[in-house]
Structure formats: structure tokens, C-alpha cells
Amino acid sequence: MNAPQRSAFDGAGLAGRPVYELRGVAKSYARRSIHALDRVDLTLTEGSFSSVIGPSGCGKSTLLKIMAGVLPPTEGSVYLEGTPVTGTRRDIGMMFQQATLFPWRTTLENIVLPIEIRDGKKAARAMHDEARALLDLVGLKGFDAVRPNELSGGMAQRAAICRMLITKPAVLLLDEPFSALDELSRDFMNMELQRICMERNATAFLVTHSIPEAVILSDTVYVMSPRPGSFVEAIKIDLPRPRTLDMMTDPKFGEYVRRIRARLDKGAFL
């Protein structure tokens, strides 16, 4: 593989260029006096894959919204590529549980939608070749004129990956992207996600409820405590890349899963 050799410590910021930095980010909703997020520090280095795992209502989605520039933090700072995040940016790519492709647009038109929104229709048309190359990357070659309702769930999420990548984002924020898929497709798509991230040396941050998914994909898994949400442990996953689904039967893999589960159980929120 021509992907750069990555050590398990990449995610901890010991090696690699920091791309995304959160310093003491906290969020409270004054009106409802809810303390959602408590001083989160996070550094994502270039080409690293990190996951955050935690119970429902631990502030994961609040964290992700702050990282995406949709929600301002109450305290702390967020930096992407050295410039503060003060709103949504084209160099932040995001993916959701649902593909959310619009049925009146072809797959290709859906993929260039972020360009159309930011730069207009003409710029979007100019990106069609780029979009086709991305379809090729995710294994949807020749699907450009197909309407989204003819795509399967997994194919739709592949198209959503293309839409996320079209703006050439510096960081990928993944909000449980494959959790609506059946388990077989989900495992397969996770491996595809790894391949795509490695091919593009992408910096990715995944929010998930699945411990095995977090372990198989990540260099670092952050375990989050419930409200107010904060990272209680950062677990480095020392498994070689590229990861394979076979590794899930590896005793080392099982050890990581056990450790994370124990950490989550300790908070007695499962």
C-alpha cells in the first residue's frame, strides 16, 4: 500500500501534523441550565482516524456540531488548519446516519450539491468530472445518472461519501454513518471507509455506538462520560493497517473491546 506507515500514536498527537484542535471546549445551554460538554481537549493529526464512543446523551452530537461549526462553544477554542472555526466551512466534510440524497437530483447532481450551494451552478457543473472520479473511488462507477431511490442503503452512503469529499475537506466528521445499514453491509462499508481514508490520507473523526466498529477503524478511541460530557480515556489501538475484518477475532482486538466496555460500564450508563 502506498499509504504512509502510521504508528498507533498518531492519534495522540505525538507524530503527524495537527489538523484539528479543540482546546477546553465546553458547552452549556443557559436557558435550560444544562451542562452538555465539559472541557474537551482533542487533537486530530493528519491522516489519523479517531472515534468517540459514549452513551446516548453524553454530548457526542453537541461535540460534533461544535466541530462542524454549526454550534458555537460556550468556552474554549476550535482550530482547523491553524484558523479558528467560527462557522461552517468548506474544508469540513460531514456525513450522517442517513445518506440524505435528494430524489429529484441524479447521484452526480447530489454529489456536487455542496459546490452548487457555495459557488453556484456553473462551478458545480465544472466539478462533474471530479465527482465522477469520486464515484469511481467509492466503487460506484457509472452510477452518475442514476436517481438515489434506485440505490441501496450502502450505495447511497457511498454517494454521501463522495458528496462529503467533493469540497476536498481537511477533516471528515462522521456521525454514525453506517448505523442504519444491516450488519453485513456495515462491516463491509467500514472496510471501504478505511480504504478511502487511507487512499486520500484523510483525517477522520467518527461518532459511534459500536465498540467493535470504533476499534477496527480507529487509531485512537475516546471514551466519553455522560453529562456533562468529557473524555475519560483515550485508548490507542495498536493494530496494523490496513485493518481487516479477520482482526475482529484477534485476542488483542477482544482485549480492546473489553477494555472500552469496562470503561463504559464503570460509569454505569449502559
Binding site: A68, G69, V70, G87, T88, R89, R90, I92, M94, F96, Q97, Q98, T100, F102, P103, W104, L113, P114, E116, I117, R118, R147, N149
Partner: protein, 284 residues
């Protein structure tokens, strides 16, 4: 001997799917059959003579009158003039209802002010029997076409408001979040996402409005000064010319169907991606 010893033979079918009679006959035949049955029943009641012909004329009588009215319309007679007036009332009324209904719907569905302040008033007015406003429109706008247009528009506006507002609520959290992360303006979010997603609901409103606008125009004519088809019906009715009333209603319903199907046609063109875009249409 094993339990299964005759595997080479096909087992006797003891229970299979039963296809009902109605599932096997084509739609057109079913519709035609029902019509024939209805007319036969009508003829029967007429022949027995339990109902006075003034109240219920026979099918032949009515059929002959339909031909008469049709001829008058085709030859450009006074009935065509009347029909044209009703068409104008309906089209103007519908156009006004679409414009006001759409704008109010966007106001209610898109702004907090609209939802909090405007919507309660709209609901209050909508619950009133709108036909009761007809004398007011007559007093304000006179006996001409304007009062009929106003009543037609008044009745047809509310379903469009409701449809548009409901359509704007269709967009789920994912779609909203996606547009936020793409840095879309409110205008872009509305026109590139919320309105297209809400088109099925908007068209549901339009279809209800298309029916209401006809009712509004005819009611307006009944109440005074009308020169359209409604007036012809009123006159025929006062002369106890029941076959004429029936045939006028049939031609009027053709106008209503044309309007309704125009909306359905437009829906199929615009909302080709939605499953229920064939709703209200005949066939597929």
C-alpha cells in the same frame, strides 16, 4: 420406509392463493360495469314510477338534454358564454388562492412569527363556514365577477396554506443539518431543499383547493348576479327543468375534472420522484 417416499411426485395442492373476481377484471370494465348498473337502477326507479319525473327525470330524458347542452356549447351558444364566465372565475380565483396561499404557507412554515402569530388566526378563519362570507363579498365587490372570484379564492386559499406549511415541515433533521454544514443561506435551504421536499404536501393542498375553487365560484353565482353556469343551474332549477340541471352539473363536473387533472398532471411532471405522485390520477 421413510416419511417422504413419493418425492418424485408433485404433492396435491390443497391450499392455494385465491384471486378474487374484482382483481381479475380490468379497471375500465369495472368502471363501465358500475355505470351500466347505476343507469339500469335509475331506469328501473323511473319505470316503476315511485318518484315523480320532476324530481328524478329518466336516463333517456337526461341523456337527450346532455346532447342538447353539448350542442349549444359546441355551437358557441349562450351556454358557452356562461361557461366561459365560470371558467374565468375559477381560473382567477385559483390563481389568487395559489399566490396568497403559497405566501402565507411560507410565512407560517418558515418563520416563527408566522407560526406563533399568524397561524392561530388562519385556523380560526378556516374553521368558519366560508360560504357564509358570500353576502359580504357581494356587498363589497358588487354583483359582477369579482365577488365570485373572491369567494372562490377565499375557499381555495386555506388548503394551499396548510399544504405549503406542512410541506415545509417535511425536511428532517438530517437534511437541515446537511444544508447547515454546506453553509446554505435561508433562501437556498428553502428553494433547494424544503420546498422541493414539501411538493407532495403542497400538491395535496392544491388538489383540495382545485375542488374548493369550483364550489366557491358556483356558490357565488347562486347568491346573486351571476352570469355563469351556476346561474344557468339556478334558472333551470327554478323552472323545474330537472334534466337540464343534471346535464349542466355533468358539464360543470367536466370543468372541475379538467382543473383537477391539470394539477395532477403538473404534479406528475414536478414530483416524478415521489411514490404518491400518482395520487388522484387515474391509471398509473
Amino acid at each position: 420406509m421413510t416419511a417422504i417416499d413419493n418425492t418424485d411426485q408433485r404433492p396435491e395442492t390443497i391450499w392455494s392463493e385465491h384471486v378474487s373476481f374484482m382483481d381479475r377484471i380490468p379497471r375500465t370494465i369495472a368502471m363501465a360495469g358500475l355505470l351500466v348498473g347505476f343507469v339500469a337502477l335509475w331506469q328501473l326507479i323511473y319505470t316503476i314510477g315511485v318518484v315523480s319525473p320532476i324530481i328524478l327525470p329518466g336516463p333517456w330524458e337526461t341523456g337527450a338534454d346532455i346532447v342538447f347542452v353539448g350542442k349549444n356549447l359546441l355551437s358557441g351558444g349562450y351556454m358557452l358564454t356562461a361557461l366561459w364566465i365560470t371558467i374565468k372565475e375559477v381560473i382567477f380565483g385559483f390563481a389568487i388562492a395559489i399566490t396568497i396561499g403559497f405566501l402565507l404557507g411560507v410565512l407560517v412554515g418558515e418563520t416563527t412569527f408566522g407560526e406563533r402569530a399568524v397561524l392561530p388566526y388562519l385556523v380560526a378563519i378556516d374553521t368558519m363556514p366560508k360560504v357564509a362570507f358570500a353576502p359580504l363579498f357581494l356587498a363589497w365587490l358588487g354583483f359582477g365577477i369579482a365577488s365570485k372570484v373572491a369567494l372562490a379564492a377565499f375557499i381555495a386559499t386555506f388548503p394551499i396554506v396548510v399544504g405549503t406549511a406542512a410541506g415545509l415541515y417535511v425536511a428532517d433533521e438530517n437534511a437541515r443539518m446537511l444544508f447547515k454544514t454546506m453553509g446554505a443561506s435561508r433562501f437556498q435551504t428553502l428553494f433547494k431543499m424544503k420546498l422541493p421536499l414539501g411538493l407532495p404536501q403542497i400538491f395535496t393542498g392544491l388538489k383540495i383547493a382545485a375542488v374548493g375553487v369550483m364550489a366557491g365560484a358556483i356558490t357565488g353565482e347562486f347568491l346573486g348576479g351571476g352570469k355563469g353556469f351556476g346561474e344557468l343551474i339556478r334558472v333551470a332549477s327554478s323552472q323545474l327543468n330537472t334534466p337540464r340541471v343534471f346535464s349542466l352539473i355533468i358539464f360543470l363536473s367536466l370543468l372541475g375534472l379538467t382543473l383537477f387533472w391539470s394539477v395532477v398532471w403538473l404534479e406528475k411532471k414536478l414530483v416524478f420522484w415521489h411514490k404518491s405522485s400518482v395520487s388522484g390520477g387515474i391509471g398509473t
